[in-house]
């Protein structure tokens, strides 16, 4: 409307006028209406109004027509404008294109500045005429450039030809070199054969030069711990004339590559370390461990792919032959051969027992020093590193003994802090892990090599002596005694060795059970069937249950086992259970049941509680197994034997004594322990048997001189036989004869025929006085 007003003022004015007039009319009409008079005027006004409407409409139409016309005009004018803008755009585009093309042309660079051309002066002086003379282009500069380029090309072609020629020459030279190399490589084998041929001569002349040299060369590639082992052993050998021989086995080449790798790794590690140091100054232990874990994945030595990462062995190992040092003969007998290996990742030296001829016990070196079973890793680092996955003793016969670490100069902190810190312990604490060089003075001062060699020798000898004694016992023969200055050596046993059977290694209950099973087949036919079977049952039961720590009789082993666990159990339960019920023990179960009947009114709880007790009792038997394992090193690799001594008593029948011998691997340092029992299981004999045990396990040890201690088992067996003869003989005699008052108090030595006083003291000990040796039986004074 406004547009119309602006575009067409006349029409709009008309419109305005009309509107005003209409308003007038309307107001008039309104006025009339308000007055309420003369409707005739109103009619006129209506007609006026109608007229106005008509004019309004006319004006409106004229406005619309005008508008249409103007629109058509604008449409017509638009066409030429469009075409001209299109043309303008085309032209602009074209212009841009040309500008771009011009710029590209301007930007174009020829290659020739890159080509190193001969300088112009040289070109003019040395270029041939045919190139110089020919005109190639009109432009002078261009022509010169072309000429120069041509010359360059010519020169390069020449050089190519020369190059080819030189290549040929080089190839021919290479050929010559390779042929010469071939000759050189074949030369060592020739030399070697020559050397080999010369060996007999060397040996004949007594110069083992080559071998020594080779060994020394190999020694250079030994890992530090093994190097210390080798060098110290060598030093000991050369300084004190120890009768030992060392050899370094394994491929030196592998060791070389290994060492190289190690060096590379170190370098790599160093740079790594630098990097990490930039990132954070103090990488903590966890990262360290992780990095170490990653390492085996990255670099695995070629030849040890079959070895799992952490058990990776160093390619070199040392073989040590120990010879008997008491042998004065020209050729000393070889006692033992050991192989030292090094686990690279764990920093642990392992010892492998290499036996050539016999199927000897691989545990022979177990507990060479106290608490050194070789079954777990000696130091914490290795333990942490390997986790629980590693178990030694399964794979072959290689063990990480602590003494081997000490021999290799690897000192470590003990697992448990020493409670009584005396000087030695303090020292041990101060030496830190893998501090090789600084500890060597200490190492020498401690005489480690000598100690260990001595221990190995004495162990081997003891084991050989033990095997000899056991062999004779297995044949049911009395072992012979070399040292005869003891009463039992002169005593001809009246009793007989009726049975001797191994009860197996102690920790391995299943194994011992199978041995016991085998033993049934070996039972002598002339033996009393009934007692044999009972014995079998008993032994099988005891094998299953593991012996207790106390050297008590075999008869009440169960009792002892449960008893020892009893205090704990009782205290544990004391808060929760009724006090009265604990008076009842599982052992007396049967008896308790009978009398608990008439005490029912008093203690109703008793019966139900005792059942609980019974259950816990059986649990305790199982737990007992674990409790013994808690202090296992002394029993490690220990052997157990059962045997029966029988004594014929004519009419009375046979007296049988069951004995169980536990022979520790530390024999003879830890002498065999005997535990005795009789068939009847009657506790009447308890004190007598304990006295005999004390005699065997403790007192005669003091009687036998140290240099005969390897035969201590034989002495113990013979002494047992004598004690058995004595005790059971005396016992019968005492029952038959009456002792007179006069004789009482006058004791006689063992050989005496007059029976006087045979027992003494509150424990009714037999009175024995060893003639000449001066051992008061029963108790040390």
């Amino acid at each position: 409307m406004e547009a119309n007003e602006v575009a067409r003022p006349t029409a709009h004015q008309l419109l305005e006028e009309t509107r005003m007039e209409m308003e007038d009319v309307a107001s008039k009409m309104l006025f009339i209406k308000q007055e309420g008079s003369s409707k005739s005027e109103l009619r006129e006004l209506i007609t006026q109004m109608s007229l106005h409407f008509i004019t309004l409409r006319k004006v409106n139409r004229s406005i619309l027509v005008e508008e249409d016309r103007i629109k058509a005009e604008t449409e017509a004018a638009k066409g030429p404008v469009d075409t001209t803008t299109l043309q303008l755009h085309n032209l602009l585009y074209e212009k841009n294109h040309y500008l771009k093309a011009i710029k590209a042309c301007k930007d174009f660079r020829s290659k020739y500045p890159d080509i190193e051309l001969v300088p112009e002066e040289e070109f003019f002086s040395s270029a041939p005429e045919e190139i110089k003379g020919k005109a190639m282009a009109d432009d002078v500069a261009h022509d010169l450039m072309l000429k120069r380029l041509n010359f360059e090309l010519f020169q390069r072609k020449e050089l190519c030809k020369l190059h080819e020629k030189l290549e040929q020459h080089k190839a021919s030279l290479l050929d010559a070199i390779s042929s010469r190399k071939k000759f050189l490589s074949s030369l060592p084998s020739h030399l070697k054969s020559l050397k080999k041929a010369s060996l007999p001569v060397q040996q004949h002349l007594g110069i083992s030069h080559t071998k020594k040299l080779k060994q020394l060369h190999a020694a250079e590639f030994l890992p530090p711990p093994l190097y210390i082992v080798y060098s110290q052993l060598l030093a000991q050998k050369e300084a004190f004339g120890e009768k030992i021989e060392m050899e370094i086995l394994g491929s030196v080449k592998d060791a070389q590559t290994f060492a190289l790798q190690q060096v590379n790794k170190e370098n790599g590690l160093l740079s790594n370390l630098d990097n990490t140091k930039l990132e954070d100054d103090a990488p903590d232990d966890d990262e360290d461990v992780q990095r170490r874990r990653k390492r085996p994945k990255k670099n695995v030595v070629k030849d040890s792919v079959d070895q799992s990462g952490i058990c990776q062995l160093h390619p070199l190992n040392i073989v040590l032959h120990v010879y008997d040092d008491e042998d004065t003969g020209s050729k000393p007998s070889k006692l033992i051969t050991l192989k030292f290996e090094y686990l690279v990742k764990l920093n642990v030296v392992c010892v492998r027992f290499e036996d050539t001829n016999e199927k000897s016990d691989s545990n022979i070196l177990c507990n060479l020093f106290p608490d050194d079973t070789g079954l777990d890793l000696p130091h914490q680092m290795a333990k942490l590193y390997s986790g629980d996955s590693l178990a030694f003793g399964e794979k072959g016969t290689s063990y990480p003994y602590k003494w081997a670490q000490h021999l290799a100069g690897i000192d470590f902190l003990p697992e448990v802090p020493p409670i009584n810190v005396n000087g030695d312990h303090l020292n041990a604490g101060l030496i830190n892990v893998s501090d090789f060089s600084s500890g060597l003075a200490l190492y020498r001062r401690q005489n480690r090599v000598q100690t260990i060699l001595q221990r190995i020798r004495s162990r081997k000898k003891a084991q050989m002596a033990l095997v000899e004694q056991l062999d004779s016992l297995a044949k049911l023969k009395w072992p012979s005694l070399i040292y005869e200055n003891v009463p039992w050596a002169l005593h001809a046993p009246l009793c007989t060795l009726q049975k001797w059977s191994p009860a197996g290694l102690i920790p391995d209950s299943s194994f011992s059970a199978s041995i016991a099973g085998q033993a049934t087949n070996n039972v002598d036919l002339d033996m009393d069937r009934r007692s044999v079977t009972s014995w079998e049952v008993e032994s099988a039961r005891e094998d299953g249950e593991l012996p207790t720590a106390l050297p008590v009789a075999t008869m009440p082993v169960d009792a002892a086992a449960s008893l020892l666990s009893e205090p704990l159990q009782l205290v544990d339960r004391s808060r929760s259970l009724a006090l009265m019920s604990k008076n009842v023990t599982p052992m007396s179960m049967v008896k308790t049941r009978s009398f608990s009947k008439y005490e029912d009114e008093l203690e109703l709880v008793l019966d139900s509680d005792s059942e609980v007790e019974e259950q816990t009792y059986s649990n305790h038997l199982n737990e007992n197994a674990s409790s013994v394992v808690s202090k296992p090193w002394e029993d490690s690799a220990a052997k157990e034997f059962d045997f029966i001594l029988g004594r014929n008593h004519g009419k009375d029948g046979v007296v049988k004594l069951n004995a169980k011998v536990k022979i520790s691997i530390e024999y003879p340092l830890r002498p065999p322990i005997f535990s005795l029992s009789t068939d009847s299981g009657h506790s009447e004999w308890y004190n007598v048997l304990r006295a005999m045990e004390a005699e065997l396990n403790l007192h005669i040890l003091r009687v036998i001189p140290l240099h005969h201690e390897n035969f201590i088992l034989a002495h113990q067996i013979r002494c047992l036989a004598m004690l058995l003869d004595f005790h059971f003989d005396r016992h019968d005699a005492k029952r038959k004869s009456t002792t007179s008052v006069i004789d009482v108090g006058l004791c006689t030595p063992i050989s005496g025929m007059i029976l006087t006083r045979s027992v003494r003291g509150r424990d009714r000990r037999k009175m024995i006085s060893w003639n000449g040796v001066g051992c008061m039986p029963g108790y040390p004074s």
Partner: protein, 389 residues
């Protein structure tokens, strides 16, 4: 545990084979040693405080029970933390004091309460009867590992059993003293000796007052019946004899050792009288028997049982131990009331504190202390004298 650490000879670095060998032997010795007598020291405290132990290496050692119990429970708490059951070892307790009382085993010890001054009497295999000042023993603070210390303390009283003279003046060995008993009113000590006699000694003068002859074999035990001035002895010959102290004559012979079924007689290892002094219990090689001291009749007798080695009266119950690891209570009419497991495989001593706490000592140098309700208060190994030279 501590002793082990101490005793081992180290490893390859500082190997001491002698020390290691010695430590093994010491451990063995401990396991072979026997506690022959335990006794509670008299004190004002109603709870047991100090336990005196006589053992077969001739030592007299005293142990503080509260500390033993405390360390025992500590030990067990430790176990609970580590979740391991290291029940294999009862702890080895450190004694308050230890003296070398006798050469050879010490068989018996008794307290002689004399007002403030308590005397401790001990006897042993060397035939000596020695009286010690209890306060001196306690205050001596003797450390175990000092070898000479044991001899420093001198007994107040040192009595020796007489030797018997044979033809040409040959002297018999000194008989051992197996048991002692004390009568405070008379001021005398009675000893049961190995020469089949019992002796009466005057404490003041140290003189031998009376000899009781009559047994045919050595004496195991002795007990005083103070109300009627009698002593009762048990012997290897299987009889129990009742003696009049004033005349020295045997008033009664009781064949307590004789088993009715088998004709063999067994030794009498222990005798005990109840507090009313009208009942007598005899422990024998096959069991035990109880007699009325008024009528000298056997009340009951139990055979086919492990040898009884010590017994005592607890009110009207009899507590007996023997060569079995159990402590048995009998009623006066012979019924088995209860059987308690105790640590020593063969127990030689049972002693009762007025509060009802019982101590059992026996083979393996083990002492087991049980509460009046039968729970184990503590079990420990007695340390021995380090006199191994």
């Amino acid at each position: 545990m501590a002793t082990e650490q101490e005793g081992t000879g180290g490893d390859a670095r500082c190997w001491d084979e002698e020390r290691y060998r010695k430590s093994i032997l010491q451990e063995r010795e401990l396991r072979c040693r026997t506690v022959f007598r335990t006794a509670f020291a008299p004190s004002q405290n109603p709870n047991p405080e100090i336990l005196v132990v006589a053992s077969s290496d001739g030592s007299l050692s005293s142990y503080s029970l509260p500390s033993c119990i405390a360390s025992m429970s500590q030990y067990q708490q430790l176990d609970m933390v580590t979740n391991q059951r290291t029940v294999a070892d009862p702890l080895s307790a450190d004694p308050l004091s230890i003296i070398q009382a006798h050469k050879g085993p010490t068989y018996d010890l008794k307290f002689y309460s004399h007002g403030e001054n308590n005397l401790l009497f001990s006897c042993g295999d060397d035939g000596r009867l020695r009286g010690w000042n209890w306060k001196e023993i306690l205050s001596s603070h003797i450390v175990v590992d000092k070898k000479t210390q044991g001899n420093l303390l001198k007994p107040i009283l040192d009595l020796a059993n007489p030797q018997h003279e044979g033809p040409w003046g040959a002297l018999s060995p000194i008989p051992e003293t197996n048991a002692i008993t004390i009568n405070e009113q008379e001021g005398s000590v009675y000893s049961a000796a190995g020469d089949a006699r019992a002796y009466s000694w005057d404490i003041e003068t140290g003189k031998q007052k009376m000899v009781f002859r009559g047994h045919t074999d050595y004496l195991h035990c002795i007990s005083a019946r103070k109300s009627s001035h009698q002593i009762i002895t048990g012997s290897e010959d299987g009889t129990t004899r009742i003696w009049d102290c004033r005349s020295g004559l045997c008033t009664q012979i009781i064949q307590s050792g004789r088993n009715l079924k088998s004709k063999l007689s067994s030794w009498v290892s222990s005798v005990a009288i109840d507090s009313s002094e009208s009942w007598l219990a005899c422990g024998t090689g096959t069991g035990l028997s109880v007699w009325s001291l008024l009528s000298y009749e056997c009340i009951f007798s139990i055979g086919h049982y492990a040898p009884v080695q010590d017994l005592l009266f607890d009110d009207n119950q009899i507590v007996a131990v023997g060569s079995e690891p159990v402590l048995t209570r009998f009623s006066i009419n012979g019924a088995t009331l209860s059987q308690l497991k105790c640590a020593p495989q063969s127990a030689f001593s049972v002693s009762l504190h007025p509060s009802g706490v019982i101590a059992v000592g026996g083979y393996g140098a083990l002492v087991d202390v049980l509460s009046q309700f039968g729970s184990h208060l503590c079990t420990f190994y007695c340390m021995g004298l380090d006199n191994d030279s």
